[in-house]
């Protein structure tokens, strides 16, 4: 028995870490075919957003053909009431979704994890203050919170697609509003996991060895909550994209005229939906497919990584 364990351990050690990671990933891919589909959709979405200027057949802001012409060879997704190419607008729309999604999830996850770790590590009044202030944030229904934050900070004015970073900066209010909503959930999960780890023997051993608070948080607590954070991120990315689209749909996100999936489904465009349903189907299909990809990927990652589901 002992020698068998030893042999397994030695075998595992002999294997390089790269080939082990590779094997783990191929194992995951075999178990989660839908997750692979989701991952492919997500990769495609990121690629389309990054390569939009190369992929789009026309400038999404400019008059390209006859107004409201149906899908054709020249305009596969038709044109809108300004004669803009709907395909080009749908491709460029991925940029807004990507930048707002990634930036707001990054913001919410980093702040949320930091607050969760701090609250779990220090406890006492710091924990109480963190908890109470998050309760205030959580007492607004999601969309209401986002709208109030946008109202407080002022709506973004004009966003022209110069490049992704400039676009992200122009939309910072939307990023903050959407990201703020994700802090609460992240903090709650990270705090509860870190609380159980906080008094684990290895943490006490580290304290006994003279490790400082920063070292304990980053080297000991953080790796243990990482699986939860990764699962949270994959699910939250879809939610962030949806929140941005909803906000833009209500007219408080991306300024009108900017190619974005939520914006193209709202405002003046709505008057033409009845005669030109491709105006709905192109951005609507794009956002639904993207969310489907993130949901499949998130489900697969949760099944594989969430320690609470391990061994089932």
């Amino acid at each position: 028995m002992a020698s068998a364990t030893e042999a397994v351990l030695l075998g595992a050690r002999a294997e390089t870490s790269e080939s082990r990671t590779l094997r783990r990933i191929t194992g995951m891919m075999r178990r989660q075919p839908l997750g692979v589909f989701g991952a492919l959709v997500c990769v495609g979405f990121v690629f389309i957003a990054l390569a939009a200027p190369l992929l789009a057949p026309h400038d999404p802001h400019l008059f390209a053909g006859p107004r409201l012409s149906g899908p054709s060879h020249a305009f596969p997704f038709g044109t809108n009431n300004l004669g803009q190419d709907v395909l080009a607008r749908t491709i460029y729309g991925a940029q807004v979704s990507l930048i707002v999604g990634v930036a707001s999830v990054f913001l919410g996850t980093v702040i949320g994890s930091a607050l969760g770790l701090v609250a779990a590590y220090w406890g006492g009044w710091i924990d109480a203050v963190v908890q109470r202030s998050l309760e205030v944030v959580a007492s607004f229904p999601g969309l209401m919170l986002i709208l109030v934050v946008v109202a407080a900070l002022g709506r973004p004015s004009v966003a022209r697609n110069v490049n992704l970073l400039t676009l992200g900066w122009e939309l910072r209010v939307v990023v903050i509003a959407v990201g703020l909503g994700f802090i609460f959930g992240t903090t709650r999960i990270v705090r509860s996991v870190a609380l159980t780890e906080r008094h684990a023997p290895y943490v006490e051993a580290a304290i006994a060895c003279g490790a400082g608070w920063a070292r304990i948080m980053l080297r000991h607590l953080l790796p243990n909550v990482m699986a939860y954070i990764i699962v949270g991120v994959s699910v939250t990315l879809g939610l962030a994209i949806l929140a941005e689209a909803s906000l833009s749909f209500l007219g408080y996100g991306v300024p009108p005229g900017t190619p974005a999936w939520g914006t193209d489904l709202s405002g003046i465009n709505r008057q033409f939906f009845l005669q030109a349903p491709w105006l709905v189907l192109a951005p609507g299909g794009a956002i639904s497919l993207t969310l489907l990809g993130f949901n499949f990927l998130g489900d697969a990652l949760r099944d594989e990584l969430d320690p609470r589901l391990r061994g089932r």
């Binding site: 999601g142 969309l143 879809g238 949806l242 909803s246 489900d299």
Partner: protein, 315 residues
């Protein structure tokens, strides 16, 4: 029990003061020239002055806040900057519309979510289970504003059908009202029901493997009694938590539904008010949303005790 509820209500009251202070400060974070927004750029400085004086905008912020809180305690939510209408009166006029949207969507969410989630778990890996799971992942992925937009467009294109948009009063025109609300609230419920189905399914799968379910079956209880009294009751705890969150979130969803269907409810009111910095309206709706969410949280916590006698309220 009474002591616990009393302490929770006091906590809610305290939280509400903090919440309203936060919204009040947030709305004044970036100075906005409300008078110029409302009166337009061509008004004279005297008119701006009179406007600011009338709504107390020339007072220091703490005085404005105290006056607002004082008014709220007397049931006076102030007047809208834009229309000068009493916020409380307008609120009562619009409230039933939002209430109907929220109640109907919540009913669809709860029934679809729990029933299909439970069936899916009880018949695990059957075609029905796969159907429910497929529906839920698609339901999660299609945004509600897209579903609502399709609801307006495709029946109109195919059959020339449009719902009776004016029928916002349930009691004056019941059949027209339901024609307008039922399909729309059903669409709004799909996304929430999808989430609820998934959670109900996993909660049920956990419960059906428990020893007490086997015991119940071994002692010869009827299947219906096992499902309702033993499985459902134990699976309900996480489900109720999510339902509480979803009921609160439906207040947000109602904004989208009202906007798409053109209903004059609280959602469209708040949305328009945010655009023109009409603070008294924004404050009233935000406060209402916060109260609702907090009361729902309290009710969910109390229902835990009713469902599971092992849970004791913290003293």
């Amino acid at each position: 029990m009474q002591g616990y509820i009393l302490r929770r209500l006091l906590g809610i009251a305290l939280n509400l003061v903090i919440v309203s202070l936060v919204i009040f400060l947030a709305l004044r974070l970036v100075p906005q020239n409300v008078a110029a927004d409302v009166l337009g750029q061509n008004a004279t400085p005297e008119q701006y002055h009179a406007f600011n004086h009338k709504y107390g905008l020339d007072d220091p912020a703490p005085a404005q806040f105290l006056r607002w809180i004082g008014g709220v305690l007397h049931g006076d939510f102030g007047r809208s900057f834009r229309t000068n209408a009493r916020v409380g009166v307008e609120f009562r006029r619009r409230f039933p519309i939002t209430l109907e949207v929220v109640v109907l969507s919540f009913a669809f969410t709860a029934v679809m979510g729990v029933v299909f989630g439970a069936i899916s778990a009880l018949r695990q890996n059957s075609p029905l289970d796969y159907g429910v799971r497929l529906f839920s992942i698609f339901g999660l992925s299609i945004p509600n504003f897209l579903l609502l937009t399709c609801l307006l467009i495709f029946p109109a294109r195919w059959w020339g059908y449009a719902p009776p948009f004016g029928a916002t009063d349930l009691f004056k025109n019941p059949s027209g009202n339901l024609q307008l609300y039922v399909p729309a609230t059903f669409m709004l419920a799909i996304g929430a029901a999808a989430t609820l189905m998934r959670l109900t399914r996993s909660a049920f799968l956990e419960v059906v493997r428990q020893d007490y379910v086997r015991t119940a079956r071994a002692k010869g209880l009827r299947e219906g009694a096992i499902v309702l009294r033993h499985e459902l009751r134990n699976a309900m705890l996480p489900v109720l938590t999510l339902m509480g969150l979803q009921l609160g979130a439906l207040l947000g969803g109602s904004i989208i539904l009202e906007q798409v269907m053109g209903l004059p409810g609280l959602g469209t009111w708040a949305l328009a008010a945010i655009g023109v910095n009409d603070y008294p309206v924004v404050m009233a709706v935000a406060l209402y949303a916060a109260i609702t969410v907090m009361v729902i949280n309290l009710l969910v916590d109390l229902s835990y005790v009713a469902l599971d006698p092992r849970i004791r309220l913290a003293h």
